[in-house]
């Protein structure tokens, strides 16, 4: 046990010093220094509860994705039937129960319709996205497959994550973390954020902009009663718009969506002095908009944002330039927010904040300070106790403890892990627990001496007999730590990380390093008695 060949000593020192070196950049920056960028700089990240910042968990309403997909399919089917040669007439279209179904006017068309629709049922990667069936001889039913819905949700989440990233970038915050989590969630972490409210407003806005024709034949009484005429939908006016509290019926199909924009800026309309948002369509969107406005000159259309009508202007003339102005109900701030949201693209699916944790930078700083003071006092007390109890062996344990903290920090930096507030508690616990190994060893050496063993044998036996319990105890602690890591969330995970890494460093420093030092001392001095 006490035999340390030179290569082993060198190897242990190299490992130790490497880990300690990895801790240096973190310590240096913690004391206020600027670490030169040219040098490698593994650093421990500070969690949001220490650095200050916001953690948001967003969840997508995946039902919306399925609903929208159904609507798109309806438009595609209608277009395909219309463009068939000769045209296939359909009626009684329904999107109830998450299925798209319609009647063919003539049962004779069934094979032709099937031939046209069949290729549309197949998605990318040979995944069948829809099932096609015929009931009652001439009703066709399109049912989305599980795989199809999953693909759609997945696509929507991919692009939602991208949109979230663009919006946060617009805020000009530093180093945000945006990660997809699970099927329908996105984690957003923004350190050092001053105004979490602005962020939430920005992410809460789907920015789904639609231009739809107003159904001018709808009866006011029906609209008030919430009964939409066939082929129409009822939308409420937005809060703050001219007709707040009222609703309007618009044609369900044939409108265009504002998700093909190349630009959006907030501004002020020089004539009305109103806050407005100017938008520019891309080429395709511009053409569609030109078509819509040309065909419907003199007709009223609704500008709908996230299911609320902003205004219902009239197409006075064809709009061919590919740009438009949106007005109604804006303040300077909300116009600016909308411009940002439109620029970064609409969210393909509405997101809701289902968990928020925000800590101010002041509180984080205060936590660090208090944590460090507590750690310092705790360490000093532990050191005093160890030296008073075990003398020279206590000093070895103390030096090991010192290395333990540095190596733990170094490994955390090297692995780029995050230190959280509970993680500081984990540090303190590790300091307390690391000495347990030395206590076990030293108590065992005392015992062995008492039983009359000679110094070398007593020390050797002390390490040997104690290490069994040390390994068993640390492995069981490891099991508990891993489970905490797997099932814990956020800051609590930081606690688990420190505990787990701390187990390894504690065993290494308390068992291996002290043994090396003790054996060196025993070899050099060959004491006939030891004070332990």
């Amino acid at each position: 046990m006490l035999d340390f060949p030179l290569w082993k000593k060198i190897w242990l020192w190299v490992v130790t010093l490497l880990a300690v070196a990895a801790a240096i950049p973190s310590l240096y920056t913690a004391t206020g220094g600027e670490w030169p960028e040219t040098l490698p700089s593994p650093t421990v990240n500070l969690g949001l509860d220490l650095a200050g910042g916001s953690h948001l968990l967003l969840e997508a309403e995946s039902d919306e994705v399925a609903a929208q997909r159904l609507e798109n399919m309806e438009e595609a089917v209608r277009a395909a039937m219309r463009n068939a040669e000769p045209r296939i007439r359909i009626g009684d279209v329904s999107t109830a129960n998450g299925e798209l179904s319609f009647m063919l006017d003539s049962a004779a068309d069934i094979d032709r319709a099937r031939g046209i629709l069949e290729p549309m049922m197949q998605g990318q990667n040979l995944v069948r996205e829809w099932d096609l069936s015929v009931v009652d001889t001439q009703r066709m039913v399109l049912t989305p497959t599980q795989g199809g819905i999953e693909n759609a949700v997945n696509d929507a989440m991919e692009s939602a994550t991208e949109v979230v990233r663009r919006r946060i970038d617009e805020l000009g915050t530093r180093e945000p973390t945006i990660i997809r989590q699970g099927d329908t969630r996105i984690v957003v972490q923004v350190p050092g954020l001053e105004d979490p409210e602005a962020l939430k407003t920005l992410l809460g806005q789907t920015a789904q902009l639609e231009f739809k024709l107003v159904d001018e034949n709808a009866l006011i009484t029906n609209i008030q009663a919430g009964i939409a005429p066939p082929g129409s939908q009822i939308f409420p006016y937005a809060v703050g718009s001219d007709f707040e509290g009222q609703s309007v019926a618009v044609k369900r199909l044939g409108g265009i969506r504002g998700d093909s924009l190349t630009g959006a800026q907030s501004g002020i309309d020089p004539e009305t002095n109103e806050d407005v948002v100017n938008i520019q369509f891309d080429q395709q969107g511009g053409q569609k908009f030109a078509q819509l406005s040309t065909r419907n000159v003199g007709k009223q259309f609704a500008i709908i944002l996230d299911g609320e009508v902003l205004s219902t202007p009239v197409f006075r003339e064809p709009i061919l330039g590919g740009s438009a102005q949106i007005s109604g109900s804006f303040t300077a701030e909300s116009a600016n927010n909308l411009a940002i949201s439109l620029r970064s693209g609409a969210l393909p699916v509405p997101l809701t904040v289902i968990e928020e944790r925000t800590v101010s930078a002041e509180l984080g700083q205060d936590s660090i300070q208090r944590g460090l003071i507590a750690m310092l006092i705790g360490s000093l007390a532990v050191i005093a106790l160890m030296i008073a109890t075990y003398g020279r062996f206590g000093i070895y344990a103390t030096i090991a403890l010192f290395f333990n903290v540095l190596i733990l920090l170094g490994i955390m930096a090297g692995l780029n892990t995050t230190l959280t507030l509970p993680g500081i508690a984990g540090f303190v616990l590790t300091i307390g627990a690391a000495v347990d190994a030395n206590v076990l060893i030293n108590e065992r050496i005392r015992e062995e001496r008492k039983r009359g063993r000679r110094v070398i044998a007593a020390v050797e036996n002390g390490y040997k007999e104690a290490s069994r319990a040390i390994y068993d105890a640390n492995i069981t602690n490891f099991i508990a730590g891993v489970l905490l890591f797997l099932f814990g969330s956020g800051p609590v995970r930081g606690f688990a990380v420190v505990l787990i890494i701390g187990l390894f460093t504690s065993v290494f420093t308390a068992l291996t390093l002290t043994r090396m030092w003790v054996s060196g001392w025993l070899r050099a001095k060959r004491p006939s008695d030891i004070n332990v």
């Binding site: 968990e355 928020e356 205060d366 507590a374 076990l440 069981t476 602690n477 508990a480 099932f487 606690f495």
Partner: protein, 325 residues
């Protein structure tokens, strides 16, 4: 230099003599704890109950207007908020539980949070929002589920390990001791209605770890002594093992305590619950290792033969073949 000896060299305390009364006490503690948990319930924090918790500093005042805040936030109609001083007289934490009606609404907690913060900012300009946490009903439900799973798996996992490394009696004994520790900790939180959050789950897992530390050290010594003193009656052997490791038990508990106390007294207010739970668990865990984990071995029938390699079926076959049986 005269070294400190916390425990005299030759202690011979008859711990096991009182094993029955202490066992009864432990059962009473476990039953009482669960009774408290079930009747009074745990005071779930925002992590497990859902809702909002905001922490405010009134920089221009000496004392935060606790009563006024309670009335003001209560006026929003989401039930009675919990308003309490937090670390300093001018710092408060306000907790608004999620009303049952909106438990399923994903964005409700955030919405309530926004209302509370903007109202307070209007009423008390210059107040600093130090922290804000909102958790929706769904996420809170997931946290509860994960917490139960983590605790159950941790207890089973470590018990399995001990079973593999020692014998089944040791695994069962350790499991029972851990169950005691977890129960009593939960009981303390229920009786004193301390806020029960994710951090406390972390604390309980740490307690499981350190209680087990003690148990393993004692068990390891028992195993060693079982091999060494094959004729010694079990109660006497257990006493010997506990006494032999007593110095270590006391020393380790003490070092952990001196490391934790500064954190409890001077540490960040947000860590108080976590550190308090671990500190309490330190005592509970040490007690259970000595008075539950060890005597359980008597009742579960450990003998000195437990560690003698048993003859396997193959060995028997071989003996038969050689005509030795």
């Amino acid at each position: 230099m005269k070294l400190l000896k916390l425990v005299p060299a030759d202690t011979n305390i008859k711990f096991l003599k009182l094993r029955v009364p202490f066992f009864i006490l432990s059962i009473v503690l476990i039953v009482g704890s669960w009774a408290a948990v079930l009747t009074q319930g745990l005071n779930y924090g925002v992590d497990f109950a859902g809702g909002q918790e905001v922490r405010l500093t009134f920089e221009q005042r000496d004392d935060a207007p606790v009563g006024e805040l309670r009335q003001l936030v209560g006026g929003l109609g989401y039930g009675t908020p919990v308003v309490q001083e937090f670390g300093a007289p001018n710092v408060v934490s306000i907790r608004v539980p999620l009303p049952e009606a909106v438990e399923e609404t994903p964005g409700a907690a955030t919405e309530i949070g926004n209302q509370v913060i903007s109202m307070i900012n209007e009423e008390y300009p210059g107040v600093r929002t130090d922290g804000n946490e909102t958790v929706s009903g769904k996420v809170a439900g997931e946290f509860r589920q994960d917490a139960v799973l983590a605790l159950a798996l941790a207890m089973l996992g470590v018990a399995m390990y001990i079973w593999i490394r020692f014998e089944w009696q040791f695994g069962a004994g350790a499991l029972f001791a851990l169950f005691h520790d977890v129960s009593v900790t939960l009981g303390i939180f229920a009786i004193f209605q301390l806020e029960f959050s994710l951090q406390i789950i972390a604390a309980i897992l740490a307690i499981i770890g350190y209680s087990l530390n003690d148990t393993i050290v004692v068990y390891d010594r028992i195993r060693e002594n079982l091999k060494k003193y094959r004729k010694m009656p079990l109660p006497e052997l257990l006493d010997l093992s506990v006494n032999e490791t007593l110095a270590r038990t006391v020393m380790t508990s003490l070092t952990l305590l001196v490391a934790l106390l500064p954190l409890l007294l001077f540490g960040p207010a947000s860590l108080f619950g976590l550190v308090l739970a671990i500190t309490a668990g330190l005592f509970i865990g040490t007690y259970s290792s000595v008075y539950l984990a060890a005597p359980m071995l008597i009742w579960l029938g450990v003998t000195s033969d437990s560690f003698v390699p048993k003859e396997t079926e193959a060995d028997l076959q071989e003996k038969k073949a050689r005509g030795q049986v």
